[in-house]
Symmetry: C2
């Protein structure tokens, strides 16, 4: 294998690295300078950048480039600042942007996401025991990784004291309080402020699409369950969206390209409303979220008249996917059992239940940023531990 080779081009505005394995990547001098990690650019204590882009001359170029003798670093002299700054070759390789940007179909998902249906998931629902997850960081990491990958997971063996669901959230993050409280009771009520508080079946849905931002996670924990029926159902909204795209690409695009409207006004003093699409794509077409909730869907007014029939046809197809038994994973929670869903992706439903007996669940909305942050920290600890062994 040859050594790392450095070539300057475009009067030092571009640096080309030829890696020993034959790959070549170009980097702009301005990008390199902006991403320097020396102590004058980034705080050694907390990693935050100490300078702004306006502190970097617009005419920045690399005047001289040297490969470290170890092959793991690159040393660059930036002008007009006249400063030598070292870069990690590994870091540069990992952050290469001079790569073929293959066109991806709208609705692509990142590699951490694995879509599922009943056939692939019913027999292997990700599940963990409270006693493990609350005492072992590795077990917690596995449970959180399942949520990142599949958008839901089950927990068994949890205490049945009210509020336990918040202790689960606090294993990895923080509960977001809303007009429903820090947590809320899900059981049949007289004069319910929300249809969730009845014994009606509920079509699979994401929670609170009338809120912006929506709750990104939901935990539903069972305290008592002696009714007939009342099973929990989860459906991968990303599978539903992908199926719509393959069956009806124009319908997929209509749901992604036009905002929907959602409203909730079930309690005095609460008038929530939002304007967001049913299928949310990032600017690069990545599938970021689905919103689907028949109870709070408001009048669609942002779709041109001529597109409305096709928009409604797409909604119907999406709803058919949501109701398709081939996509639905079903389980019945016993006291001490709970499940968590990624509310930006996985829809949940409940089957109707009998009037006799008691079904008592509690729900809360933690946020996904904390979950993903804790998971990343655990993975970093494990990688550091493995490297030390």
């Amino acid at each position: 294998m040859g050594a790392l080779q450095l070539t300057l081009a475009d009067e030092g505005r571009v640096l080309q690295l030829a890696w020993p394995d034959g790959r070549r990547h170009r980097y702009h001098a301005l990008w390199l300078r902006d991403n320097a990690s020396d102590a004058a650019t980034r705080s050694p204590g907390n990693g935050q950048r100490l300078i702004t882009l306006l502190d970097i001359p617009a005419e920045t170029h690399v005047a001289e480039a040297q490969a470290g003798v170890d092959g793991h670093s690159v040393r660059l002299r930036f002008e007009p600042e006249g400063r030598w700054i070292d870069f990690s070759a590994t870091w540069l390789a990992r952050h290469a942007y001079d790569t073929p940007h293959a066109p991806r179909a709208p609705g692509w998902t990142n590699p951490d996401v694995q879509r599922w249906d009943a056939a692939s998931m019913q027999a292997r629902i990700p599940s963990a025991n409270w006693s493990e997850v609350s005492t072992s960081r590795a077990a917690l990491g596995r449970w959180l990784a399942a949520v990142r990958r599949f958008g839901f997971a089950v927990m068994i063996g949890a205490p049945t004291e009210p509020g336990t669901l918040c202790r689960v959230a606090e294993l990895f993050g923080y509960v977001r309080e809303t007009n429903y409280g820090r947590w809320f009771e899900v059981r049949a009520e007289v004069n319910p402020s929300n249809l969730a508080y009845t014994n009606l079946g509920l079509q699979a849905h994401t929670d609170n699409p009338y809120r912006d931002p929506v709750p990104t996670l939901q935990i539903l924990a069972c305290l008592r369950n002696t009714v007939e029926g009342g099973e929990s159902v989860v459906v991968d909204g990303f599978t539903v969206a992908e199926r719509l795209r393959t069956q009806d690409a124009r319908g997929f695009e209509l749901l992604a390209r036009h905002p929907a409207r959602f409203e909730y006004a079930g309690s005095a003093g609460v008038r929530l409303s939002s304007k967001r699409p049913m299928i949310e794509l990032g600017p690069d077409g990545e599938l970021l979220a689905v919103r689907f909730n028949n109870r709070s869907a408001a009048a669609i007014t942002d779709v041109p008249f001529d597109d409305m029939p096709a928009y409604y046809a797409a909604c119907r197809r999406f709803a058919e996917g949501v109701e398709d038994r081939a996509l639905a994973v079903t389980f019945k929670l016993a006291p001490g059992e709970l499940f968590i869903v990624d509310n930006t992706r996985v829809l949940h439903a409940r089957k109707a239940f009998s009037g006799s007996g008691e079904r008592w669940l509690q729900g809360c909305y933690p946020d996904k940023d904390g979950l993903l942050s804790t998971l990343a920290a655990i993975e970093e600890e494990e990688a550091a531990g493995a490297a030390a062994r």
Copy 2:
């Protein structure tokens, strides 16, 4: 004036309303049926929809249409269900979607948003007194309406007890707890986990762009302030974005069409990261949010090599707007004073301050859904009160 005229077309799949003022709007039978508000379709108690789209036959059409004798309602017979359902004419007029969809330039904002700069804002900073806002629902409504319109507001005369900022949040909504706590202390520290906890100046920024969803509101409250400097600065990010669009439409598009990356790893166990654009547009081009923070901006890797120089040039222009004194509104908080910013829109900065004296602020992140909900409820109460008078 003539009466409301109803015409069926396309075999009852379309209803046309000709209003007395000459406007004409068409509505699809399916859309009408879906938006019915009769007691079998919507819960009279909480307004939630009781049926799903799959409960509505795909071949739904209007077989018969009658105008109410009062001119305020429309009565429709839907087939094949064979049901008569009444609609409010006012509601139909307000939700008409058969309207010219004039092409709007990407980055348009809704009518509730009014952009500002120093000239239009420095002399009329929206401000209210704690004693008014905490006791008068009308005064609270005015203060919240300023936040909706301008993206920030000041409050004076608040208690200087720690945690008062959460009482302010609870006037309209809920605090979102994060890894920084339910609220956090902003004062100079040794070995700070965040550069906010130093006496350095901070470039105008939005908070926590490495969090997804970002905090949608921030309150910063002053408990003590005897330093030289340390003034607070706010900049309307929507004005900065609009200026970029008019100066450099391609640059605006590059910032909107490519995700940026943000990271924060300043504390043990915290590894936050996000992938979202600096300028976030809705699918219909509405400007929804800006993200700008030099401290936590990570390497940009989603921009093709050939576009990177123009992307960086656009970032630089955006930063120049952020730093432009003509856009900056400055004030110095005294103890008992605070300000709130819409963190999806308005950037805030702090000027450097002296090492002598003490500057003690507290910050927290309430959410905007609660603010807008409470404001809408107050406006509804006021409209009902006015109607009753």
